[in-house]
């Protein structure tokens, strides 16, 4: 059997992080093929339920990324999102989910390289903690 590969859900905002991912692609930058990208209009659109549903249905990790603070296409979407993540993250840790399972970042449309780095880092982190078991249905 082949070695376990982490499966990572990346939820990226349309205006910055998704464009950053696109730039990484068209620039032919190398990054781990473990992410599955879902494009959303803005990080403010991210319902924590999306993240939990991701874990529950078999993703080993979730990355959420939006525009840098101050750069959100909708002005304040990422500020509101930030408060949400600020509560979600410690809450997940509180119930016993590993801290690195769910991560957040800001990546702009010009930061293709940063996108590659973030994905590499998240993939490595999740490889280290191993397959997700908590909150995974049927695990």
């Amino acid at each position: 059997m082949s070695e376990w590969q982490p499966k990572i859900l990346a939820i990226l905002c349309n205006w910055c992080s998704y464009a950053g991912a696109d730039l990484a692609g068209v620039s032919r930058m190398q990054y781990p093929p473990n992410v599955r990208v879902v494009r959303i209009p803005c990080s403010g659109r991210v319902d924590p339920l999306m993240i939990l549903k991701g874990l529950q249905s078999g993703f080993d990790g979730v990355l959420v990324s939006g525009c840098h603070p101050g750069d959100c296409h909708y002005i304040s979407g990422n500020f509101v999102a930030r408060r949400r993540f600020a509560v979600l993250k410690p809450l997940l840790e509180f119930v016993g989910v590993e801290p690195d399972r769910v991560q957040f970042s800001w990546i702009s449309a010009g930061e293709g390289e940063r996108f590659a780095q973030v994905v590499t880092k998240v993939t490595e982190d999740i490889r280290k903690i191993g397959p997700a078991k908590r909150l995974v249905k049927g695990a």
């Binding site: 930030r82 600020a86 410690p90 809450l91 016993g96 957040f104």
Partner: protein, 321 residues
């Protein structure tokens, strides 16, 4: 005190200041009083207030219950400290108008958790409950116990720092001020210090008891969406089974929905038929909200609820550098 309370309600009704008073009355069982709706002064003698008055009556301004208060222009409501914070929150969220409600504060020394009483009675049926200051007497067939109130109090009350309403039109007695000295979250800190495995084990043990009856949601004055996320079918984002991941996700999301909105009244925990220690999650969230955003839910009529607000220069240490 009970007399003052009845007189106050009667007078408000007689003077035409309100046309309905929401309060508590003696229930049909000894350990739980029941909400009561008084619309004329001669019914006012039904009103009571003691440590069995656990219901957060603000719930009657929300959800389907809105119809109770909607048809009347002016409603009077009795509140404990926590209930008054629910009311303030609902006013800041534009669920009702401050001028449409007459808030009557009552001095609260905590409400009981009926399960703690039953445990004391060791399974024997409790037929009588009475309170004298800090001592409670429980009677049943062939037994009588005298217990310090402290040992029967709802967990929410044990960590409560604002026992009396700070926003009111009338107060029965003398309201006590905010006692901000002690650390209300020491139990949460203890829990945080357990290993992740242990926390996970304990959460599993607790939440695997959940039967998804939603009593916790229904009694909560902060839970008032017309269609709750758990009732949405199309698309269905959340599993409705009592399977553990479905249940945990329900509770995590519910706690996020009431982040910065939960007043830690404990009504949910007292309503839970499965005896789940629900407040652990609520209070963890409340602690984060307080520490990170410096907001104390329901204490300020001019404050935006924390999760609807932001500061540009906020701490973002949890975001990848």
């Amino acid at each position: 005190m009970v007399n003052e309370l009845r007189e106050a309600a009667g007078k408000l009704l007689d003077d035409g200041k309100v046309d309905l008073v929401i309060g508590w009355a003696k229930g049909s069982l000894p350990l739980a009083s029941t909400p009561v709706f008084i619309s004329s002064s001669d019914e006012a003698d039904q009103l009571v207030f003691d440590s069995t008055c656990g219901n957060n009556l603000t719930v009657y301004f929300t959800k389907d219950n809105k119809k109770i208060s909607r048809d009347r222009k002016k409603v009077g409501i009795f509140v404990k400290g926590c209930d008054s914070r629910s009311l303030v929150l609902n006013i800041t969220e534009k669920q009702l108008k401050r001028e449409d409600v007459t808030i009557i504060g009552v001095p609260c020394s905590g409400v009981i958790d009926t399960r703690k009483v039953r445990r004391k009675a060791e399974g024997r049926e409790v037929l009588e409950y009475s309170q004298d200051g800090d001592t409670v007497t429980i009677k049943g067939k062939e037994f009588e116990l005298s217990v310090p109130l402290e040992e029967l109090l709802s967990n929410a009350c044990l960590s409560c720092l604002r026992k009396d309403a700070e926003e009111y039109d009338l107060f029965i007695g003398e309201p006590r001020k905010f006692s901000g000295e002690s650390d209300p979250y020491s139990d949460i800190e203890e829990y945080e210090n357990l290993s992740a495995d242990e926390r996970w084990e304990r959460m599993n043990e607790e939440y695997s008891k959940c039967i998804r009856c939603y009593a916790c949601r229904n009694v909560c004055p902060s839970c008032y969406c017309n269609v709750c996320f758990v009732d949405q079918n199309d698309p269905q984002w959340i599993g409705k089974t009592p399977e553990i991941t479905d249940t945990m996700i329900f509770h995590i999301i519910r706690n996020l929905h009431i982040a910065g909105r939960c007043v830690e009244c404990g009504a949910c925990e007292r309503a839970c038929p499965m005896d789940i220690r629900l407040l652990y999650l609520n209070r963890k969230v409340a602690k984060e909200v307080r520490e990170r955003f410096g907001s104390d839910t329901g204490t300020d009529l001019d404050q935006k609820p924390a999760m609807a607000d932001f500061r540009e220069d906020e701490n973002q240490d949890f975001i990848m550098g």
